[in-house]
Amino acid sequence: MSDILLPGAYYTTKLDKAMGWARKYSIFMYPFVTACCGMEYMSVASSHYDIDRFGAGLPRFSPRQADVLMVVGTVSQKIAPILRRVYDQMCEPKWVIAFGACASVGGPYDNYATLQGIDRIVPVDIYIPGCPPRPEIIIDGLMKLQEKIANQKHPLI
């Protein structure tokens, strides 16, 4: 495509592409912070690493207003029904990020109290490894999620 649109020219796209492009820069996260990974989340969310550059700067503390459920930290068996309920309350379209080793696979806690990965109770789109993950890898995970949003179907009805 030419950089300068001539008078009378037009540009075509697919609806899914346009919706994906719009949605990937408008991520409202619900931070479900249960453990020490929360420190890295705070670090990446504040000015130095600044995920606002990716349109994800504004956390919403109500699941009704959120697009992305970010599960940050260890999820115990006791809190698992609450996590599932938060997920069920979020409106479509919605995505889930498992942030850190504990949320992804249970981390070092192979014991009676810990859920061995949140993917046993909610579907996960992006797994971010690390204990805790560095901000760079979180940004990488966020960009992977943006890529996924941009390339998926966006049914309007």
Binding site: Q77, K78, P81, N111, Y112, A113, L115, D119, I121, I157
Partner: protein
Amino acid sequence: MTPEELASQLVTDFPELNLTSRVDKGHAVVDVSTDRLVALMTAMKERPEYGFAMLMDLTAVDWFEQRDIRFDLVYHLYSVEHNHRLRVKVQVGEIQHAPSLTKLWPIADWFEREVWDLYGIRFDGHPNLKRIMMYEEFKGHPLRKDYPYNKTQPLIEESWPVRNLQIHMKEAGKIHRP
């Protein structure tokens, strides 16, 4: 008092309690039986030369098959006034109860609930002996040696990979989209 003085003075002060004491890793340790525990602890708190105003910790040890009397209760006392510490050990059998110390130190309430939750040792006279860490639906006591260390008791359905949620939610009537 130094740990050595504390250990020797306890035995001479309370001959009727039949204590044995020693110094272990710089701490005075005293062994007492369950029926004399309250008498000892009351004296520890109320006699000014001891002045143990603070119950720092209460925990338990499960010796399982290594010993006839299965559990040890371990009380850690600290005196703010004299800056000395004391460890009190009580042997408790599997079906035996221990006396509650909630009347002496209110913090014993939560400590005893924790020990009941994780080890299953009952405390007589506790006002509210229910689980504090695990959920009410949990069966058994997870820090006992005969509890499988990674046996979980999920509260909701778990599956891996997670069941197709669209189908699941349609069944539950949660989405009405065709």
